[in-house]
Amino acid sequence: MWLFYIEQLLGSLPFFLKGLWMTIAVSGLSLLAGTLVGFLWGILRASRSRLLKPLIGAWVDLVRGTPFLVQVFIIFFILPEFGIHLEAFAAAVIALTNLAACFICEIVAAGIESVPPGQREAAASTGLSGLQQLRYVILPQALRVSLPPLVGQYVLLIKDSSVVSAIGVVDVTRVGWLTVQRVPQGLLVFGLVALLYFIICYPLIRLSNRLENRMSAGYTRSRD
């Protein structure tokens, strides 16, 4: 009996791989866009801007304080009421990009704030412009602090992407749902689903740990 189901499952492997590809596409696009937006927001949030700083802070709190599933529903079901029609895929990418941007914004802002103010003052006093201070002095140090939690956050976001199956995006999770209707072996089917997520996430978890170790080693690598 088990063998029969495993055979059936193997038969739907191409379907699973398509789902896997969809998960990678949705998360990949969202993480890329979310990282860009998140860095921009994070830099502004750590700046002295009187307007943008609290505005971004409020938005981040709002997004972090509501379930992601509800955010996805809002974008997918409510926006059409206002004449904005989105395909499930686009809605999923927008929702996940926004979520990623909010978490990354917090990580980047915390990284920037961890850099002692004397660093900016030293850079400013040599005549570097604000952008040059950021690029050559602040961000390299902030990144060192931010990179391990950033990669860790990627793992969480990839797993969160399973939520978008609720609006009909055929990602790995949705493929699991569809398959379990034909192959009534929940453990087997979702075991495979879990395995596929794990295969994507595990290297990132390892990377995050390695970055963490490198960071705690400090700036002592000599170059001569």
């Binding site: 002692p116 004397g118 660093q119 003052e121 030293a122 850079a123 400013a124 006093s125 040599t126 005549g127 570097l128 412009s129 040059q132 050559y136 002095v137 390299p140 140090q141 060192r144 400090g218 700036y219 002592t220 690598r221 000599s222 170059r223 001569d224």
Partner: protein, 242 residues
């Protein structure tokens, strides 16, 4: 070179500089001393507008620092600033620390900037530490790199905010030596310090600050032998007996 005219500075309610008037000539070395919290750091941080002033005029190298439209990055390139805590860039080697601004601000070719960086680091006695990170250097060495970082911009003015206060006693002299040489070469310098030996030997004038006011300013012979104000006398008796 530097001119304060009735300069006032507040931090919120706190009146930190109360009408400072002061002129520093080219090639002059001015030492500023005074109790902690009297406004010495604030005074020199105003010169390159790390702190903005609220009232009065401040003219540095012909530029009107008190006017908000004055573009500071250009002026800052002409003023070296040495901090009590060194503030070296920890992710860069000594050589990278001193060449960043020449390359990015002065737009000097990397090769040429590195040549100059090597020369200046050798001059402050660190010719063998070019590729060390700050964490691998002693406090005295770090502070000398910080001075070299300022010098590599070929500044017209060097400002020092208690450059030896964070150092172990045995490292103070190596830093003062570099500053002595600099003074001899005719650099315009304002040095906030309690190293009275340095003040006596190197400075042209010594200023005493208390509660945001310049109480007294005089050539060192006069300042130490015949302080005019009671507060100066009290302060000197405290730090000279220590």
């Amino acid at each position: 070179m530097i001119e304060f005219k009735e300069v006032h500075k507040w931090f919120g309610e706190l009146h930190v500089l109360k009408g400072i008037t002061l002129k520093v000539a080219p090639a002059e070395v001015l030492v500023v001393c005074g109790p902690s919290g009297s406004g010495k750091s604030t005074l020199i941080r105003c010169i390159n507008r790390l702190e903005p002033i609220q009232k009065g005029e401040l003219i540095v190298d012909g530029m009107r620092v008190h006017e908000s439209k004055t573009h500071m990055t250009k002026l800052r390139a002409e003023i070296g600033f040495v901090f009590q805590q060194f503030n070296l860039y920890p992710h860069m080697t000594a050589l990278q620390n001193v060449t960043l601004a020449p390359i990015k601000v002065r737009r000097i070719a990397r090769k040429q900037a590195e040549e100059e960086g090597r020369r200046v680091l050798a001059k402050v006695g660190l010719g063998d530490k070019l590729h060390q990170y700050p964490a691998q250097l002693s406090g005295g060495q770090q502070q000398r790199v910080a001075i070299a970082r300022g010098l590599c911009m070929k500044p017209k003015i060097m400002l020092f905010d208690e450059p030896t206060s964070a150092l172990d006693p045995e490292m103070i002299n190596e830093v003062l030596e570099v500053m002595r040489n600099l003074a001899r070469e005719g650099m315009t310098m304002i040095v906030v310090t309690h190293e009275m030996g340095f003040a006596r030997e190197v400075s042209h004038r010594v200023a005493f600050m208390d509660f945001g006011e310049l109480i007294e300013i005089a050539p060192p012979e006069e300042f130490f032998a015949r302080p005019r104000s009671e507060r100066t006398r009290l302060f000197l008796s405290k730090i000279l007996t220590h």
